[in-house]
Point group: C2
Chain length 481, copies 2
């Protein structure tokens, strides 16, 4: 919020820059951080709000508001104790999650909480309590069915956009899979970002129910149905910090699944030296924590460890990944085979998990469902029902990265490749990102295009190019003997 | 900074809300966080800056500026590694401190750094490197004398304002003590806040030298001479989080001392259940770390553990503490005896540390210097030389907290008392705070005033009162058998 330094309220309350202020209107109340304004931007007696504060606090022009010092946030005390190494009790976590949900934490305070939980780690009981409270402050879906399937990838592998394909296959087999996905955390695209380039994903609860009732599945953004809304706040700050802790990850994933009313979940954990999970030991620790916490909520959970040594498909970025998905769904001749295989495997796991087919028969059933075209018709039906299917956008600015020498591709740095796609504008610029044309083990000739860089503005294209100039080793080649 | 969403630069660069933007003018460059403006607050082609950004980047009206995406801050990579438990190398710390000094870190990133260093702790080598780098990015004073004395309190004990008294006594004995102090971190007053109610403290380096050359001592704010400027940035975020780690504390204290050119330093560590250092074990760990790190910089360091069970003197808050200091200096009959005794002890330690008198004789010499009035004349001379001595201000709003029953005072919660003084407006409202009239062991009658609450505005007075209503147990009493 904004207030003049010579405003009566500002003076009598003793507000200064960065004061935390409680704002109460006739309709609502909330906290804001004060920016003190000198000069004529505001008239005497006026205060200004940011758009997000305005949406939360005022639903009519020129409302009257009362301003006072924000009450002390008592739950910051256990946060400080956690920073100093103490474990959080369930009631501490309840108070913290409630205060964050009510907008009482600043980003600086959330950053301290996330860092402390990453640095000191969280106990199993802390993770269960966090998951529980994150579910409690949001909506919770009930589907009136015995089996509600879901799949999730922990992320960290650029281009691993199997979800739309899995949903299409599973729903085509008559299994209910009301999929809610998140936006990207630290990656260049989340499933919601990718699907948003093909159809609306911001469906409210009744619109989502409507799609699921008619087609058995959906592909919507979780945030618009307010499942575990605190997760979205935490994710925003995690994104600014570019950190992602194991405990936080488990609470984030499972709070969404529990709130979404899922009963059977398949989790894809890609493992590779530059994936989010770097080695089998970390993968099995994460897998164990996921399974244990899921059990507390009566959730049937299957973990699938997959190859995380290089990006999946060709596109990295919302629209570029959507194009790969469409190629697989349409069974195009040049569809990326690795993406197709992974999606079929995961869909097979889901079909087995819900006992739709015998153990070991899921993969073949999924394959047949994709090949026959019924999965593709299902995806079209779902996206049409979400508000209309469209082709993903094409970027206005492109630059090709050519091999400066011949050789064999020996290593690809997922993290820096993802970083480059983000610098090019992904995910907020949906057509931006990278189209990777070389894979591990490929023999390439001098002058061959290794990847294309796509951006929506020349500034972003130049910015991502300058990153490549400083990081030419993110693709490594060996030359023959 | 502020920019219109329809601005050409905003669009072509792909800036969005909270983008980090590199701003370059003909005179300077720096980073800023973007607020996107819709509507007519800015004219097309204009950008707005906060006052602090304006001061850093523009020294003339209507300058032209270039805007681009901020380059990636490479030193955030070791910060993330530290969050995940790795130790920082000396060159990582150099890069981090340099980037913070150049304004490249957001508050959210600084919060993550501080939290990780508090949560995981820092090794001796990390603390030495941090101290070294914090000195390196600021000014460094040289005094051309063999002995330059200093004293410092780690804080946490409300009202413990011995510094002006110690400086007056030590300087009166002819020992050079060019004291730079900080503003409050998490307390209701720092020494600089208190002295500022009696004389100017924002002296630049040459003004400070002038005072020290003439009087052998000074009492200035460290920030205005740019000693360890990164420390001030870290302190600002620590204050918002209300955390204060041991390693950070050592680097903060010693970087200021090394940069100030001190050779002999006495450190006061108050120990008590609600002081910053709670027990003798923590005190001796802190004392050991201080001594070890000081040795690396050739600094002679003496640690004095003092009673931290209750506030010192009566005042808590800048002006109220200044009144206690003046009463001691003037040898008033009702001067707070505990403050007087502590200051004399510490001044005696300084005089012994610099070998001005034999071991064991410091206390008596300090006492004599105070009693004779020469210390008081020295304080007046120093404050006059800093720009003129004045009486501290008196608050406009006061409320007395009366005992609701008779009994014996058995416990005083320093932390919540300090918190109440801050809610009343201290330290930014200099006359605000608490005047504590009861001490541990005092027998009080029903209706007797236990303390006075002082504020500069009715809003702040009401705010602090409401805190007391919820925290009546911050003073505990036992009733007789």
């Amino acid at each position: 919020m904004y207030m003049r330094s010579d405003c009566d309220v500002c003076r009598s309350e003793g507000f200064t820059a960065h004061s935390r202020v409680l704002i109460e209107t006739d309709e609502a109340s909330g906290l804001a951080t004060l920016n003190v304004v000198r000069g004529e931007l505001l008239k005497p007696g006026e205060a200004g709000l940011s758009e997000s504060a305005w949406e939360r606090l005022a639903n009519r022009p020129r409302p009257t508001a009362r301003f006072s010092h924000a009450p002390t946030v008592a739950s910051l005390r256990p946060v400080r104790a956690k920073i100093h190494g103490r474990t959080l009790e369930a009631e501490d976590i309840a108070a913290i999650v409630n205060d964050i949900a009510a907008g009482r934490y600043t980003d600086v305070e959330i950053a301290a909480l996330l860092t402390a939980c990453t640095s000191a780690g969280m106990t199993m009981r802390e993770v269960v309590a966090l998951t529980h409270e994150m579910v409690a402050v949001g909506e919770r879906l009930h589907w009136d069915r015995e089996v509600v399937a879901d799949k999730h990838c922990v992320g960290g592998l650029p281009g691993n956009r199997t979800t739309p394909i899995v949903v299409a296959i599973v729903a085509a087999r008559g299994v209910c899979i009301p999929k809610t996905s998140s936006r990207a955390i630290t990656s260049p695209a989340g499933t919601a970002d990718t699907v948003a380039t093909m159809a609306p994903v911001n469906l409210d609860l009744s619109a989502m129910r409507n799609v699921v009732d008619r087609h058995g599945g959906c592909l919507v953004w979780g945030g618009s149905v307010q499942l575990s809304p605190v997760d979205d706040t935490l994710i925003r700050v995690e994104r600014a910090l570019d950190i992602d802790s194991e405990a936080q990850l488990v609470a984030s994933i499972l709070s969404k699944k529990v709130a979404a009313g899922s009963t059977h979940v398949v989790i894809d954990i890609p493992v590779g030296p530059s994936a989010k999970v770097r080695d089998p030991i970390a993968a099995s620790a994460l897998s164990r924590l996921l399974t244990q916490v899921a059990r507390e909520f009566g959730l049937e959970l299957r973990v699938v460890l997959t190859d995380g040594s290089q990006p999946v498909g060709r596109g990295i970025g919302p629209a570029l990944e959507a194009r790969d998905v469409l190629a697989v769904m349409r069974c195009d001749a040049d569809a990326p085979e690795d993406l197709r295989r992974r999606a079929v495997t995961l869909a097979g796991e889901v079909l087995e998990a819900v006992a739709h087919c015998p153990r070991g028969a899921g993969g073949a059933l999924a394959e047949e469902t994709l090949q026959s075209g019924i999965a593709w018709r299902k995806l079209q039906a779902i996206l049409e029902a979400q508000g209309g299917m469209r082709e993903p956008p094409v970027s206005g600015h492109r630059w090709d990265f050519l091999a400066s020498a011949g050789g064999t591709i020996s290593a690809i740095d997922n993290r820096r490749l993802a970083r480059a796609a983000k610098l090019a504008g992904a995910p907020s610029s949906p057509a931006a990102g990278i189209r990777l044309l070389a894979r591990l083990g490929d023999e390439v000739q001098v002058g061959q295009t290794l990847f294309e860089l796509h951006a929506e503005t020349p500034g972003e294209l130049a910015y991502a190019r300058s990153f490549f100039d400083a990081n030419r080793d993110l693709l490594r080649m060996t030359t023959g003997p």
